[in-house]
């Protein structure tokens, strides 16, 4: 038997799960898609005393439009469902662009949006996208609910604002109004691997093509995904021409202070982080380069 001994609960309601979490706290682990937790348990890198399986709770898996025009996504929504959702493509195409980069389709069949956020691997795609989209998270405990902004959620390597007694229940993606463009780029050794480094960008353009707001996030280049403030400020008010894009890439490389590991050196991540931003900006400007837009035209 691979995992160490544990007690197993499969609550059928959210309240029951929150009660168990309140009771066991630090000794318990939530089991969502299992695509990160199970490998760690099989290798005995984690040995929870209690496993709380939330797969049988109704009402944690949904993709619903919100009254304010945004989107609410249940924490247990499988990554594969997001990948296939027309609603996500319409409201938050950045997410549709990023999801296919997660592992392989068999992993996405099971892996959940909430699991990816709670696990918070520094090279993971969903946390980077949520930070770029200015997403909010609903966290629940038996004491009540609170809402945390993405910028306050990711604290450090595999560490989030979630307390041991809290369950991530929903993510809320605000609506974007006007002419927004999207870009997502990452580099990895083999298809499906975690990114060595990557970038997500959103550009809000006026009708003359001047940038009203730029959002730039890098991931895999620090303990958490990071918004690149200097480059964002530099681009707003510009026409995001080739020189602007190169300067933004330079500002990003300057701002990064990544680590070296067996996968890549710090210098590589720093340089290529800038290149990923430049390419993501190019991709955002050339909307026709987005495969999903092509699909829509054809339909």
């Amino acid at each position: 038997m691979k995992p160490a001994r544990f007690d197993y609960y499969s609550p059928s309601s959210r309240d029951e799960a929150l009660e168990l979490l309140g009771q066991y706290g630090d000794d318990a682990k939530i089991l969502a898609g299992g695509q990160s937790l199970m490998p760690m348990m099989n290798m005995r890198l984690v040995r929870p005393k209690v496993v709380i399986d939330i797969n049988r709770i109704a009402g944690l898996s949904h993709i619903t439009p919100r009254r304010d025009g945004g989107l609410a996504v249940g924490a247990m929504t499988r990554q594969r469902e997001l990948e296939r959702s027309a609603l996500v493509l319409e409201t938050a195409p950045l997410l549709s662009l990023a999801i296919p980069y997660i592992g392989h389709f068999q992993i996405r069949n099971r892996g959940t949006v909430g699991g990816s956020l709670a696990h918070s691997d520094p090279a993971a795609e969903i946390p980077a996208v949520c930070l770029t989209l200015d997403t909010e998270f609903e966290l629940a405990s038996s004491g009540g609910e609170r809402t945390v902004k993405a910028e306050d959620f990711f604290l450090n390597h595999l560490t989030t604002a979630l307390e041991p007694v809290e369950l991530l229940t929903e993510i809320r993606i605000p609506q974007t109004v006007g002419n927004w463009r999207w870009g997502f780029q990452e580099v990895c050794r083999r298809d499906g691997d975690f990114a060595l480094v990557g970038a997500a960008t959103m550009l809000h353009l006026d009708d003359k093509g001047i940038c009203l707001e730029a959002r730039i996030t890098t991931f895999g280049a620090g303990g958490t995904p990071m918004r690149m403030d200097a480059a964002e400020e530099y681009l707003s008010g510009s026409s995001v021409n080739a020189d602007d894009r190169s300067e933004a890439a330079r500002l990003v490389s300057d701002a990064l202070d990544p680590i070296s590991d067996i996968h890549a050196s710090a210098k590589y991540r720093q340089d290529v982080g800038g290149v990923m931003v430049r390419r993501a900006l190019e991709q955002a400007l050339l909307a026709q380069a987005l495969p999903f837009n092509e699909g829509e035209d054809a339909a």
């Binding site: 038997m1 691979k2 995992p3 160490a4 001994r5 544990f6 007690d7 197993y8 609960y9 499969s10 089991l31 299992g34 695509q35 199970m38 490998p39 099989n42 290798m43 496993v51 399986d53 797969n55 594969r80 592992g103 392989h104 389709f105 068999q106 992993i107 069949n109 099971r110 083999r190 298809d191 499906g192």
Partner: protein
């Protein structure tokens, strides 16, 4: 204490009921308890794809699921592909194209290809390569596997 649980599930159309330790993975249950050893187990952390089976129709790593989580589920393993002595078109295409040597990766690749072809009609070679990118084969160099899957899609379409 909940260290054992009774589960009921369907595997390849047949109903089973069993008392399982909660920490037993689904792949160990299939192989060790149900004697369905067609599903292989390699890395046990989701990377190699050898243990891929269909859980309620979706290709899933059975090393990353607990057996208790399959309570009530409908599973299909490689043993469910053939119809008696009659091989499934995918199995015939693998045989014809020499898409296996040691055969270790084959069950996982067949189940992956099963879902892939169900969801993707007339795939390009590029799409097939992407589709099987989560399954590692140390023998064939992949080219015959890609060819076998393309063969079946052409037969079907």
């Amino acid at each position: 204490m909940t260290t054992e649980r009774n589960i009921r599930l369907t595997v390849n159309g047949k109903a089973y009921e069993s008392l399982v330790p909660v920490r037993m993975t689904l792949v160990d249950f299939l192989r060790g308890e149900l004697d369905l050893t067609g599903t292989h187990v390699g890395c046990e952390h989701g990377v190699c794809g050898a243990c891929t089976i269909l859980v309620d129709g979706s290709a899933t790593r059975s090393c990353l699921m607990l057996a208790v989580q399959a309570d009530g589920a409908n599973l299909m393993t490689v043993e469910g592909l053939a119809d008696g002595p009659e091989l499934h078109p995918l199995q015939r295409a693998f045989q014809r194209n020499h898409a296996l040597q040691c055969g270790f990766c084959t069950p996982g690749l067949l189940m992956t290809a099963y879902e892939f072809l169900r969801d993707t009609s007339n795939p390009t070679e590029e799409q097939v390569r992407e589709g099987i990118s989560g399954n590692i084969c140390r023998c064939t160099g992949y080219a015959p596997i890609v060819q076998a899957i393309l063969d079946v899609s052409q037969e079907a379409g």
